[in-house]
């Protein structure tokens, strides 16, 4: 069995978990094993249909009132107990804030190897082979893990969602026992940013700005451009972030976020190696820069050499027109 942890936020399974489930389903198919989804929470069995809808054969619901709020310790305990009983060959997570927080704890509890932030998974001679970027994408490492089970986190926006399927399956509800005092840290609140904003790691389109924008007020140009697309986010170079023009959660690059949207538009960004490290796996890269020699043009699929203040508004109008058609 390949089991996949289903992350829930606001009472819904996250899309990146369904992507991980879809990938598990494809690999499990090659290995001739079952795919299962694992929900953890206070009472979560109701969410099972979404997991069946992406091909889970069975859904495990690990429940305890203590698990209603996320805690890495409580969730790790529940998942390790599940692995001990169900003995999956592998356990996948989405490489989200929660997945990255949780998976290493589960791995340590089980004494199992963990492949972080995978961008490709293959089956070679019956065994799972993981591929992940290292040195911020300047190299790709492929490897197998010696332990059973094998744990992996899968980079969001990288593995395609499988086709939706109809029909259900077996829901296995388990009540998890959590000893008193086992959970010494807990989430006491969530502060949402502007809820209309999509996080750069989850966006289909990213419009990023750098020092070429000259000041914080001009990020409005990029927000206008991003607003043309359904799931777009605004990104930034470190120089723009360090100048205080935009929050650091928008920073793309080696010491910022690693992103792989369908379309990445770099505006007034020179393309320093640390910036390229975070975005060069984007599917299509567009650069707007007045300097024809800027290194960003070496990785761009399409580029416009020109003044961004003239180009960006026209680009927005043109896109609006075409997308409306």
């Amino acid at each position: 069995m390949i089991a996949v942890f289903m992350e829930t936020r606001d009472g819904k399974i996250k899309k990146s978990s369904l992507e991980a489930l879809s990938e598990a389903k494809r690999r499990a198919g090659e290995m001739g094993v079952e795919t299962a989804a694992v929900l953890v929470g206070g009472a979560v069995a109701d969410l099972a249909p979404a997991a069946f809808g992406r091909g889970a054969a069975r859904v495990f619901a690990l429940e305890n009132p203590v698990l209603a709020d996320y805690s890495s310790q409580g969730y790790a305990l529940a998942l390790a107990e599940f692995v001990g009983e169900a003995k999956p060959a592998a356990l996948f997570f989405a490489a989200t804030a929660m997945g990255r927080d949780l998976a290493p704890r589960v791995a340590a509890r089980l004494g199992a190897g963990l492949a972080s932030d995978c961008v490709k998974i293959a089956v070679k001679a019956g065994a799972l082979e993981f591929t992940r970027p290292i040195y911020a994408g300047k190299a790709y490492l492929s490897f197998t893990l010696r332990s059973t089970p094998k744990l992996a986190t899968l980079r969001p926006n990288t593995f395609p969602l499988g086709e939706a399927v109809s029909g259900g399956g077996e829901v296995v509800r388990k009540s998890v026992s959590i000893p008193d005092g086992a959970v010494k840290g807990r989430v006491v609140g969530v502060i949402k940013e502007d809820s209309a904003e999509v996080d750069v790691t989850e966006a289909d389109v990213i419009v990023s700005g750098g020092r070429g924008l000259k000041g914080p007020e001009n990020f409005a140009l990029l927000r206008d451009l991003a607003a043309v697309f359904p799931r777009a986010a605004v990104g930034a170079s470190r120089s723009a972030v360090d100048s205080g023009w935009i929050g650091h959660q928008h920073q793309v690059g080696q010491t910022g976020k690693t992103v792989s949207p369908n379309l990445y538009v770099a505006v007034g960004i020179s393309g320093a190696i640390q910036h390229l490290a975070g975005m060069s796996s984007s599917k299509v890269i567009v650069a707007v820069n007045k300097d024809a020699e800027a290194p960003i043009f070496k990785v761009a699929d399409y580029g416009i050499v020109g003044d961004l203040f003239e180009v960006v508004p026209r680009l927005r109008d043109e896109l609006k027109k075409v997308l409306a058609e």
């Binding site: 932030d117 989430v187 580029g303």
Partner: protein, 260 residues
């Protein structure tokens, strides 16, 4: 308050990575090694907490003799004591092995630590594994990817980054916290600090002293391939009138790249 900071020596972020295919490893000659950037935030946070609350800041690195250079930097920034846990094995890209070494070192050498600070990830391995694994091995709570930390008595409140917002986490101490950019601005070393750091002997903990078995020291990771990413094809560069280039770009995105 006793704080332990874990730091790793890594190639700086400017590095061009070359690969030695025979050994499936990167070519280390010619690379400039530094303290992993996120670990610097962890050191700074430890120093700030010591300034506010008193206590000791100790720093440990697991690695080869060369890691002494990053430990000296930590001394020059103001750490009280630094330790090298000497491990001659090449980079394994396996977090569990390193975590087991650190967890055991904490039990045997750094008992009485109230707070363990780490970087959110080591630049290079980019694993984000070691800190949460250490936390689990020691039965401690954790807050990862933290941009704000407050310690009050025996508990800490941390703000951690999540998609589209922040999560507030309350931890009872001792606990593990990992530093994200934004937590603070690391100080520069002073000349006096650098001079003093040069003179200090750096204690070395031998791996054998930690009593880990061969199973625990084996890497989980068996490398099957290491490659640089395929070069992107040279793109189409448009010049001229802004309105025309914008129109042409949109046409290409729709008809050729098919992303819109």
């Amino acid at each position: 308050m006793n704080i332990l900071v874990c730091v790793k020596r890594v190639p700086d972020t400017e590095s061009r990575i070359r690969i030695r295919h025979e050994t499936k490893s990167i070519v280390e000659d010619g690379l400039n090694f530094v303290i992993s950037p996120y670990d610097e935030y962890a050191v700074e946070e430890a120093l700030k907490l010591r300034e506010a609350k008193g206590g000791m800041v100790r720093v440990v690195s697991v690695g080869k003799d060369e890691a002494v250079a990053v430990l000296r930097k930590c001394l020059a920034m103001g750490a009280d004591e630094v330790f090298l846990v000497k491990d001659n094995s090449p980079e394994t890209y396996d977090g569990l092995r390193t975590a087991r070494i650190i967890a055991r070192a904490v039990e045997r050498k750094f008992a009485g630590t109230d707070l363990l600070l780490f970087g959110k990830q080591s630049v290079g391995a980019d694993n984000s594994q070691v800190p949460a694994m250490v936390a689990e091995l020691l039965g401690l709570p954790q807050a990862t990817v933290v941009t704000k930390l407050e310690v009050e008595g025996a508990s800490a409140t941390a703000l951690r980054e999540i998609e589209g917002g922040m999560e507030r986490v309350v931890l009872s101490l001792p606990a593990v916290v990992t530093a994200q950019k934004g937590l603070n601005e690391p100080r520069y070393e002073t000349l006096k600090g650098i001079m003093a750091a040069k003179k200090k002997d750096i204690p070395v903990v031998k791996l054998e002293e930690l009593g880990l078995g061969p199973d625990e020291l084996a890497s989980q990771v068996e490398v099957t391939g290491l490659d640089v990413p395929a070069q992107r094809q040279a793109g189409k560069i448009l010049r001229g009138d802004p309105a025309e280039t914008a129109r042409e770009l949109v046409r290409l995105l729709r008809d050729e790249a098919k992303v819109i």
